[in-house]
């Protein structure tokens, strides 16, 4: 039998590591792809909301948020994407391992679908990050309104995104449909170019 199929990240071939855009001064933002992240949609079964919350708290140490927020447990974080709907994110439970784990632990309480390959997740950080995002994102990221843990499902340059803030640098993670990774990357880098940006290596 042949060798195992090689995985390729969504931004393979698009993200070129190194400094780009305006070259003088420190880079305004850094940008990189989060690869092998476990992603899964979690949808509560009818009437199971309370049980689901309890089990999820016990299993993952996280309170499922009722609002568009990112609540991080030790291994798995949950982003509210709609009533009774979450996007689960995990670095430790890579790729499909997350949905397998969720399906087991939340059996009968939620419908789980693996989305690890369905999204490219871009980590975007730096002093000019808000200015870059403002060029596409029609929501207010002012620190008084959108802080670490803040999350939004919105649109950037005609592309649907789920975005959550990681820290106060600010650092953001932005999930975009995999097939749009190239177009999104083009928008992001065009928009960041005037500030200069560093690209972290990807796979």
């Amino acid at each position: 039998m042949s060798d195992r199929l090689a995985a390729r990240s969504a931004l393979h071939g698009f993200a070129v590591p190194g400094r780009h855009g305006r070259m003088d001064g420190a880079a305004g933002v850094t940008v990189g792809e989060r690869v092998d992240l476990g992603l899964a949609s979690v949808m509560a079964r009818k009437g199971q909301g309370t049980a689901l919350r309890e089990i999820a708290r016990a299993a993952y140490g996280a309170d499922l948020p009722d609002t568009p927020r990112h609540v991080a447990g030790p291994e798995v974080g949950f982003i509210g994407t709609g009533p009774g709907q979450w996007l689960a994110v995990s670095e430790r439970l890579a790729n499909g391992d997350l949905s397998t784990d969720l399906s087991t632990k939340l059996k009968g309480l939620a419908s789980i679908s693996d989305q690890s390959d369905g999204r490219a997740v871009v980590r975007f950080a730096g002093g000019r990050a808000r200015e870059v995002l403002a060029k596409g994102l029609p929501i207010d990221l002012h620190p008084s309104l959108f802080a670490p843990g803040g999350a939004a499902t919105s649109i950037i340059a005609l592309m649907g995104v789920t975005l959550w803030q990681v820290d106060a640098v600010p650092t953001y993670d932005i999930a975009v449909f995999r097939s749009l990774a190239g177009s999104f990357w083009k928008w992001l880098t065009d928009s960041a170019a005037e500030f200069g940006y560093d690209v972290a290596p990807t796979r």
């Binding site: 969504a10 509560a44 419908s111 679908s113 928008w187 005037e194």
Partner: protein
């Protein structure tokens, strides 16, 4: 004056004052205007630099090609339009008054031939009697056919503005969003004090000003605030705002429109003031500013007094004259006449005199002239003409004299090269009307004042009709305090400002009735007082009618200076008040906005995002030809070396697939996980056929109807577990179907325990089709998995382990009619899987095939697709009547049963083939009876899809034909009057290949 002496000392900037002005004299900027090489200073506009150089003639007028000069000092300029820059960056109709001077600037005058000074088209003036109001409508009425070919091109050549670059714009534009508590529109005294007040209360403030530096009239007039010169106060205010982290000053930014929800459109000219944008920076940025409150402090625009020859270069608004003298230290003339209807005349006279300009006459239209004006005139040594008016400005390329008529009717003829004219000020209320607010006419102020305001907006300063500097500062501060306080910020005490004394008294005076010569109301569109009067006589008595008939206010300046006077002339001509005449409507944008700014990055291939299939990179490497299907880019065919024609490649791909094996990326199909205990019940209700009975490990073709009974979409759905179905949709309808399902669940059957989510992007899925498909699949699967016909029959579905332990899913589905599988793996393995399929398939002669071959094979099989499932066809039409379950209810069931939808004479799906097999048939051809004329009365349907069938060796088609299924074997005609075809075709069953479906099941 000859041309030689006119510009003899141009290098010395002969009209530049020795000192003063907000310009940086330490650096000299070179620039070109037509064939002149000139100099200016940082801080200049193109207009101020031209004035400093003594250039008075800057353009020719739209209709009559009359010489025109600079009239204003701001964005309301009607005359001084130039072509800025050259080559691909050439930008026509650019206002010289708003262009910041930079080193190397090149501008050309426009609408003249061959040169500005000797414009041969000025003969248009001789035709003036024919070019009056409504001349388009009157002159070129007959014959109508001459309009497009003769009249319009001739008019466009003779009467026009600048030339577009005609090349792709080399610069890029950008869009951005901003949010604030208080948006202050305009950075003059009212705007600055409003911004300071709101910011001191702690509000997030954006101050937008169209100028390169805020200050407004404080930069143009010699005024004191708190005992300090205006510009000093402005600098201090700017400095304070700069220390506040929640304040953003947006310079060179015009707020051009107000929209719902506190959204304001604004254009920032990021790099218009440099020769070319620095690398990575946009030229302009289009902002959507979302503000909870807005303070409109847009100021006001000075009105002219209209008199004969008021368009001659050298006739200039008095406020603009003061701006050039005070801000730019550039004097627009040597001998001036000042004409006004208000108390500001004194300031104009004093500023001119202080600049060393000889003021020869001061004309005040009022009989009672205030002492300040008298004193200023006396000091300047000018004759004072109370109750006077200018009858005519005489001259050619520049004013040479003014004919003044005194209050007593005595004519005075004075030599002059500058006439500074002021008819008072018009509040800039444009933005208050963008959401439908109607301004109100204030008779006392002879002005339109803001009426109903957009939600959250207040108006301060001159825009609200408060003209004095002290009241601008006070009202601005009050508006800033109120805006912030209304949002819950502390109510700070409004700062009280002390300004030097002034009087803003005026008496309306619109135009000089006993003018000699043409008196222009709209300088840019060449509309005269007599045009307005003529229109009134011809029955155009309403402001909106007058505008369209005469083109008054329809030029790029939108009549900012002349409209008010136009309404006054119309009112008088129709013996009504100005309030009765009505008003035209201000719509966005306030000033022109380049389309490029609205587009931003969405240009060329970035017009919309592109979705790339998992095999894209591999297909691209292989030289595939791609086609856009929605946002997706899909491989259309894969040319081989030596193939010169798409049909050649497609035919080869079909033959290879039918004879051996082919592979196609079908990842673009919509994929939806439908889960939950009620998933089967839910699917039974949204599909016309039944899914609750589908065993786990099986897939089924499904047909979905709209509520109105027509077909919505089709696809296959597999059952992966008791409570887990995996639905596929067509590529085109993926989003629509997802929305439909969400709607059905949330609004119709919220009681069902079912969850659904799109997993389209999660899976890379490839169709492997052809007699050798099983061989290829077997080679790809890890050992020990049986895909024999017995173990994995037609329509089987289930998990598999692929190429070294990758978890995938295999479905035995076929769109091509061949033995076929669809193999799915998580998308990150998609690229590797297509390469593995090609490698493992090589011994079996595998070929990749694109969407064309896919289409050919589905037409050969008679499968309806987008051309047939077009929103107008029912299940019966498409031959799917048997799928409509009679054992359950489903969406569309009842409406599909309506008489008209089950009428046997409806066009229904058939196959067609040309009687003469060598003939090509075309999609879109209409089907008519063999011996009937090809007209609408005999139309019985049309050809929906055609393909050259490699299997049959001739063209075949699918069509919708009235009573089609009953007419197999009949010969009709495919008539194509548009493209000229008319050929007999035989009606046949839609499936051309393997009608029994034996190949599927081997």
């Amino acid at each position: 004056m000859s041309a030689a002496t006119d510009f003899a000392r141009r290098d010395a900037q002969p009209f530049r004052l020795a000192a003063g002005g907000l310009i940086d004299r330490s650096r000299t900027l070179r620039f070109g205007f037509d064939d002149l090489e000139l100099t200016g200073f940082p801080g200049d506009t193109l207009a101020s630099a031209l004035i400093a150089n003594g250039v008075r003639l800057v353009g020719r007028s739209f209709k009559y090609h009359r010489p025109r000069g600079i009239f204003c000092a701001g964005s309301e300029e009607p005359n001084a339009l130039v072509e800025l820059r050259t080559g691909a960056r050439r930008e026509p109709n650019t206002k010289a008054t708003t262009v910041e001077l930079y080193d190397g600037l090149v501008a050309d005058s426009q609408n003249r031939w061959p040169t500005l000074r000797h414009d041969l088209l000025a003969v248009n003036q001789l035709a003036a009697p024919f070019l009056g109001a409504g001349f388009y409508y009157k002159t070129f009425m007959w014959p109508a056919s001459f309009w497009e070919k003769l009249y319009e091109p001739a008019i466009r050549r003779a009467a026009g503005l600048g030339r577009a670059a005609g090349m792709p714009d080399p610069d890029h534009y950008e869009k951005s969003h901003a949010f604030c508590d208080v948006l202050v529109i305009g950075g003059g005294p009212a705007g600055l004090s409003a911004a300071l007040a709101a910011a001191r209360a702690g509000a997030r403030v954006i101050l937008a000003d169209e100028d390169a530096r805020p200050g407004g009239r404080l930069l143009a007039d010699r005024r004191l605030v708190g005992g300090r010169p205006g510009p000093e106060w402005v600098t201090a205010a700017e400095a304070e705002l700069a220390t506040m982290p929640e304040v953003r000053i947006m310079r060179r930014t015009t707020v051009f429109g107000v929209y719902d929800g506190g959204v304001h459109g604004a254009l920032e000219r990021v790099n218009d003031h440099v020769p070319a944008p620095p690398e990575h920076e946009p030229r302009q940025r289009y902002w959507k500013i979302v503000a909870k409150r807005a303070v409109l402090a847009a100021g006001s625009i000075e009105r002219p007094i209209i008199f004969g020859g008021n368009d001659r270069p050298g006739v200039m608004l008095a406020g603009a004259v003061r701006a050039y003298v005070n801000r730019f230290a550039a004097v627009p003339g040597r001998r001036a006449v000042v004409c006004s209807n208000n108390d500001e005349g004194a300031a104009t006279v004093a500023d001119l005199a202080a600049a060393g300009i000889d003021v020869v006459a001061v004309v005040d239209t009022r009989h009672e002239v205030p002492a300040a004006t008298r004193d200023a005139a006396t000091k300047a040594g000018a004759i004072l003409v109370p109750g006077g008016r200018i009858i005519e400005a005489k001259g050619g390329r520049s004013v040479r004299s003014a004919l003044i008529r005194s209050g007593e009717g005595r004519d005075i003829h004075v030599g002059c090269d500058l006439i500074a004219v002021s008819g008072g000020w018009t509040p800039s209320i444009h933005l208050t009307t963008h959401l439908g607010g109607r301004p109100t006419w204030n008779e006392g102020m002879a002005s339109l004042l803001p009426g109903t305001l957009p939600p959250g907006m207040s108006v301060a300063g001159a825009a609200a009709g408060h003209f004095g500097l002290a009241s601008c500062l006070a009202e601005g501060a009050r508006a800033g305090v109120e805006a912030a306080a209304s949002l819950g910020f502390p109510r700070v005490t409004a700062e009280t400002y002390r300004a030097d004394e002034e009087s803003v008294a005026f008496a309306p005076f619109w135009y000089v009735k006993d003018s000699i010569g043409k008196a222009f109301v709209d300088l840019q569109n060449d509309v005269t007082v007599s045009d307005v009067k003529l229109a009134a006589r011809e029955g155009f008595r309403i402001a909106e009618h007058l505008k369209r008939y005469t083109t008054l206010g329809m030029a790029t300046d939108q009549g900012k200076t002349g409209n008010a006077a136009g309404m006054a002339v119309l009112a008088e001509a129709t013996e009504r008040s100005i309030a009765e005449v009505g008003q035209t409507t201000f719509r966005p944008p306030f000033t022109p906005v380049a389309i490029g700014a609205f587009a931003g990055h969405h240009r060329g291939k970035d017009f919309r995002p592109t979705r790339l299939a998992p095999s894209h990179r591999w297909a691209d490497e292989r030289g595939a030809v791609f086609v856009e299907t929605g946002n997706w880019l899909r491989a259309q065919w894969y040319p081989e070396p030596g193939e010169t024609d798409w049909l050649q490649s497609v035919t080869r791909e079909v033959q290879a697939t039918r004879e051996r094996v082919g592979v196609c990326d079908v990842s673009t199909l919509g994929k939806i996980d439908v889960q939950g205990p009620d998933a089967g019940l839910f699917l039974d209700r949204v599909y016309a056929n039944t899914f609750s009975t589908l065993p786990v490990g099986k897939a089924r073709y499904g047909l979905m109807l709209r509520e109105d009974g027509f077909v919505l979409d089709d696809g296959t759905t597999a059952r992966l577990a008791e409570d887990h179905y995996f639905m596929t949709t067509t590529t085109a309808n993926a989003v629509k179907v997802m929305q439909h399902l969400e709607f059905c669940h949330q609004c119709i059957w919220p009681e069902l325990d079912v969850q659904m989510v799109s997993v389209t992007e999660q899976w890379a899925q490839f169709a492997i089709a052809g007699p050798r498909a099983r061989d290829v699949v077997t080679a790809l699967l890890d050992p020990g998995q049986d895909v024999s016909n017995e173990a994995f029959p037609y329509l089987a579905a289930g998990p598999v382990s692929v190429c070294g332990g990758v978890g995938g899913r295999l479905y035995r589905l076929s769109f091509s009619g061949e033995l076929a599988y669809e193999l799915g793996v998580p998308a990150r393995f998609g690229d590797a899987l297509i390469r593995a399929i090609m490698e493992k398939g090589a011994p079996f002669g595998i070929v990749p095939y694109g969407t064309e071959a896919l289409g050919v094979m589905r037409i050969e099989k008679g499968h309806p697709a987008g051309n047939e499932i077009n929103g107008q066809t029912t299940a019966h039409d498409l031959g799917f009547g048997k799928l409509l379950s009679t054992k359950k209810d489903f969406i569309g069931r009842f409406m599909a049963g309506r008489a008209a939808l089950t009428d046997a004479s409806r066009p229904r799906l058939v196959g067609i083939r040309p009687v003469d097999r060598s003939v090509r048939i075309r999609a879109g051809a209409h089907l008519v009876p063999r011996d009937a004329p090809a007209d609408a009365a005999h139309d019985e349907g049309y050809v929906t899809s055609v393909a050259f069938s490699p299997s049959l060796g001739h063209w075949i088609g699918l069509g919708l034909l009235s009573r089609g299924p009953e007419r197999h074997g009949e010969v009709v005609r495919a008539a194509d009057p548009v493209r000229g075809g008319d050929t007999p075709v035989e009606v046949c069953p839609p499936c051309f290949i393997d009608p029994e479906g034996e190949r599927l099941r081997v």
